[in-house]
Symmetry: C2
Subunit: 260 residues, 2 copies
């Protein structure tokens, strides 16, 4: 009942929450929208959305773009994001690690994190294969659908995990139901191993590898992954895993917060 937003029943929503709901909605749609569309799709009062959008426009958080009064995320957000990136300076090292991984394995390498209670690919370096496996940076995916998901919640207790992940996210895209207990067992195993690999459950031809990146308090904050064709993944399993481990170690220091 926290993280994103809770559209409970009859209470008024707070402006700030609504505002960030709007921003997140635009991010996920990845295109400019009219205030009216936004209001309709997030189920908020039109008058409220218009008011907030105007407020955000005045602050440069949103910008008119695409014509017809459509708005999208604004320059100010880019500046703020850049400041974050600059402070927690993992980007350069991360890019290097992905580069090295993709070069070493010729597979698609990814840097992934949680966004709220969803999994998200933050950065990707495509492999050098003729048929590359594409992934969408920034798209939100249910945690149980991914190998990384097993690692990214491993600091939570079983109860916390079940409370954290929406029940419906255990329904796989093919309609099958992933038993939460199965998922929890895999989380615990992954936590013990320090990695997780499996034949992807969202398609029939990929194998996924993931290793965690932990912060100073040993909480997983991100993962490095490889997405490979199944046969390659199985054939090179040991090599790929050791590559991931090596990359993770090289990133360990970079992901840390530098105090003061």
């Amino acid at each position: 009942m926290d993280s994103i937003a809770d559209d409970a029943g009859g209470k008024r929503a707070r402006g700030l929450d609504r505002a960030f709901e709007i921003l997140d909605f635009l991010r996920q749609n990845r295109r400019a929208l009219k205030p009216n569309e936004i209001a309709a799709q997030i189920g908020a009062p039109r008058s409220s959305v218009y008011e907030l959008v105007n407020l955000l426009l005045r602050n440069g958080i949103l910008e008119f773009t695409g014509g017809d009064g459509r708005v999208f995320l604004g320059r100010k957000l880019y500046f703020l994001g850049a400041a974050y990136e600059n402070h927690f300076d993992f980007t350069r090292e991360c890019e290097n690690a992905l580069e090295w991984l993709a070069g070493e394995t010729r597979e698609t390498a990814q840097f992934c994190m949680l966004d709220g209670n969803k999994y998200m690919v933050v950065r990707v370096k495509e492999g050098a294969r003729p048929f590359r496996i594409a992934t969408d940076v920034g798209r939100l995916i249910p945690i149980p659908w991914t190998a990384s998901g097993r690692l990214l919640v491993s600091h939570l207790s079983n109860e916390e995990i079940l409370a954290f992940i929406p029940k419906s996210d255990f329904r796989l895209p093919n309609g099958e139901w992933l038993e939460p207990q199965t998922f929890l067992a895999e989380v615990r195993q992954a936590e013990k191993d320090g990695f997780f690999t499996f034949n992807s459950i969202v398609d029939s031809f990929t194998h996924c590898f993931a290793v965690p990146l932990k912060d100073e308090s040993k909480h997983p904050v991100a993962t490095l992954c490889l997405v490979t064709p199944r046969d390659d993944g199985l054939a090179n399993r040991d090599h790929y895993l050791s590559c991931l481990m090596k990359a993770a170690v090289s990133l360990r220091d970079a992901t840390r917060t530098q105090p003061s």
Copy 2:
């Protein structure tokens, strides 16, 4: 009386404005701060700041970091900024242009924009000189202090410019007073020429070159600049200018919004 925030007299500030004031303040300080410090330094009621900070923490807009209850910009902002960057996909091209400029001239090349009513270096590529001229990415500088400043306000009328730029920004760092009329004349000349160059008025040893990048409605949205030692700048003036022009043309398409 818009853009950033107006700490007028006795009215209550709006939460959203206050919130983004906090975010901007953190960005400019470039380090984690305690809510108490923030409140003191931006002149806001402590109780309000605590409330907002907690709200922002819950949304991932702010994060605890640095210990002692200090907070800094959060991961969510990075995601939002990345979405902006991805949508207005100028970054890759921009990086290329700066790379090329720095290589061609061996001088420091910059990509600059306005942030509210201040000038800001967004990206920089240091030149290959033994003594490089350093600049701070993200620091806010009064518009009249910079060559780019002449270009970035050129779409405004004289009256609008004077209303837009705080009076105190015409006071140069050495204490001298830059006559606004002089500045306006330079703006109009720069607009006509399509570039602006001068011996920097913030130090005694650099020469600056700037050319505008315009959007589809011919408004300048950014500049490309070179910062050079004075003698080099004067000696290579024509070459440097033509490089900048060339780079600007190559970026022209990339900075445009791609509709739908």
